[in-house]
């Protein structure tokens, strides 16, 4: 079936395989790789050892596949093609053109896969990231909600992409907030969690102090600086002596 299109391989209308691949379910995180990029051998350096039937797979991706073969063989090549596309994809998305494409996809990719959006804490701008070479991960590292995506190899996105992306498009870096969930029982903070939170807040204050010394923008919505520790304590006091003591009782 592909043979029919082989003759038109240079025109714009030939990305059948890639169109199909991107639009198939579970592949929403992929962007389309340019024909130019695919056909430049330099970009494919080293991949021929990674993929079985490398040449056929590449032909399939670029829609010039015209081998007569049985279904089993075709299936194998198809699988290789998907793998190869993924590997090229990892390289492509850190190029200028690839980076330009991914933000438009970002809305599809979903927001930080679960963590509550405290106000603007995470704009729908959490990007793909990968850890070791298991499945795909999203910023702050959440496994992706849909089962369909659990099958995608994280290596198809690489470990660097999202960082480069934020370096190139700093405007996309989500603004941060110190808002967080505080476990409470009948309104009283739980002691164990509260001490940990106090400790974490002191860590944050240290970081903000470091950043302020270097005059770097922290990215937090309002720069709380060193005051936030005091705020935290104020909040405790608002609860009153009774509250603090009751909170202790609850612990037992």
């Amino acid at each position: 079936m592909m043979e029919e299109f082989a003759s038109e391989s240079d025109s714009d209308y030939t990305s059948y395989w890639r169109d199909w691949f991107i639009s198939s379910r579970g592949n929403e995180y992929f962007c389309e790789i340019d024909e130019d990029y695919l056909t430049d051998r330099f970009n494919l350096t080293g991949l021929n050892t990674e993929v079985q039937y490398y040449q056929y797979a590449l032909d399939l991706i670029t829609d010039v596949f015209d081998l007569d073969c049985d279904d089993d063989m075709r299936e194998t090549i198809e699988k290789s093609a998907r793998h190869l596309y993924g590997l090229i994809h990892a390289r492509y998305i850190v190029t200028t053109r690839g980076l330009a494409k991914m933000p438009t996809l970002a809305s599809v990719q979903g927001s930080s896969a679960g963590r509550i959006h405290y106000y603007q804490w995470a704009k729908p701008m959490r990007l793909i990231r990968n850890l070791s070479n298991s499945t795909v991960f999203v910023a702050r590292m959440y496994t992706i909600p849909s089962l369909a995506h659990a099958a995608i190899d994280g290596a198809y996105f690489g470990t660097s992409f999202h960082n480069i992306m934020f370096q190139v498009y700093p405007a996309l870096v989500p603004s941060k907030s110190a808002e967080r969930y505080i476990p409470r029982v009948y309104g009283f903070k739980v002691h164990a969690a509260a001490t940990l939170i106090r400790w974490q807040n002191s860590q944050r204050a240290d970081m903000l102090r470091r950043l302020r010394k270097l005059e770097v923008e922290s990215g937090f919505k309002e720069d709380m600086g060193g005051d936030d520790l005091d705020e935290e304590e104020d909040e405790d006091e608002e609860l009153g002596v009774d509250g603090a003591q009751d909170a202790m009782h609850v612990v037992g």
């Binding site: 509550i116 990231r129 496994t143 909600p145 967080r180 739980v190 002691h191 939170i197 970081m207 003591q245």
Partner: protein, 334 residues
């Protein structure tokens, strides 16, 4: 009426088996029938009495006397309300639109009762069974390694937030992965349940995953060191330096100073040495002279025993009440 407990499909069980209602526990009828448990709900729910009848599968009666004979124990709880509203109810027959209003009222009422029920002894027990069976899903954070979560609300007032999942392993809340839970009101679970659950069942070993939880993994005997009222190993086991994602570009770490650098790592941090969190002991060490006030703060560590002994007996009624409770709690857990 009491026959409904025997029928396979009571309103409650059919409500709990609806799609998206997997997190709900089945509130026992005894709990609902106790008027005390419903205090204040009349004002929060429209058509309260009808909704309550629907939850309890009471037939909308034509004849008041008949019903009274049938279920005496039932009457104790709703008779008063029934009398009040009897006059106005007499005339109107139930039409379809009415039913749908009652249905949604009943759901709201059930949710609010549920919020109270899961904090009661029977309710939290039922929730712990659901927890062990993994009904509440797992934490999406990859470093939490599929830790079991608990359903919580961020508000006790209905209509403000949908239900969220609280991960005891990283102390954060997450949107449930399936969109069907995004129609479930968070107030039906309430803010208290998640934290209360961990305090009620401190024996659950939060470092265990998957099938181990099913097997009822408990904190091992030799690991039972207490800190701040919890077992040391159960304090946010998935947090800490080694369990924070480190962004890298071609293998090089992204600097904190970079504009896109990591700024939220504090949220997933934890001291390497947990005793740093023992604020009471540290305070006692830093201020060895201060033996007054804050008795309840001095109950964590071994080194405060000295202070405890020195504590004057009559130091404030409210503070004095704190220590026996604390001691009791600690003993019962051991």
């Amino acid at each position: 009426m009491s026959s409904s407990s025997g029928t396979p499909e009571s309103w409650i069980s059919s409500f709990c088996s609806l799609l998206g209602h997997e997190y709900f526990a089945e509130v026992s009828e005894e709990f609902i029938e106790d008027d005390f448990n419903l205090t204040g709900l009349q004002t929060q729910v429209a058509m309260y009495k009808e909704a309550l009848e629907m939850i309890l599968d009471v037939e909308p009666e034509e004849d008041d006397e008949d019903e009274e004979e049938e279920d005496e124990e039932e009457d104790e709880s709703i008779e008063g309300v029934e009398r009040m509203r009897h006059g106005e109810r007499r005339n109107h027959s139930r039409i379809a639109s009415d039913l749908s209003v009652i249905e949604s009222s009943a759901e709201m009422l059930y949710g609010l009762i549920h919020q109270r029920f899961i904090c009661s002894r029977a309710g939290i027990q039922q929730m712990s069974e659901k927890y062990e069976l993994g009904h509440f899903g797992v934490c999406p954070r990859s470093h939490c390694d599929q830790a079991r979560t608990l359903p919580v609300g961020l508000s006790d007032i209905p209509g403000e937030e949908t239900v969220k999942l609280f991960c005891p392993s990283c102390l954060d809340v997450y949107v449930p992965p399936n969109s069907r839970f995004q129609t479930v009101d968070g107030a039906f679970f309430g803010r208290t349940f998640g934290a209360l659950f961990l305090l009620t069942f401190p024996e659950y070993d939060l470092t265990k995953r998957g099938a181990d939880v099913l097997a009822g993994a408990r904190v091992p005997e030799d690991d039972k060191e207490m800190l701040n009222g919890m077992y040391r190993c159960n304090i946010a086991p998935s947090l800490g330096r080694s369990r924070i994602y480190e962004p890298r570009i071609y293998g090089f770490r992204v600097s904190e100073v970079a504009r896109s650098g990591p700024r939220m790592q504090w949220l997933r941090d934890k001291p390497n040495d947990l005793s740093e969190l023992d604020e009471a002991r540290r305070f006692a060490e830093e201020n060895p002279e201060s033996d007054d006030d804050d008795e309840s703060m001095n109950l964590n560590g071994r080194s405060v025993r000295r202070l405890r002994q020195r504590r004057r007996n009559g130091a404030g009624g409210g503070g004095g009440g704190g220590s026996p409770m604390e001691t009791n709690g600690a003993e019962s857990e051991l």
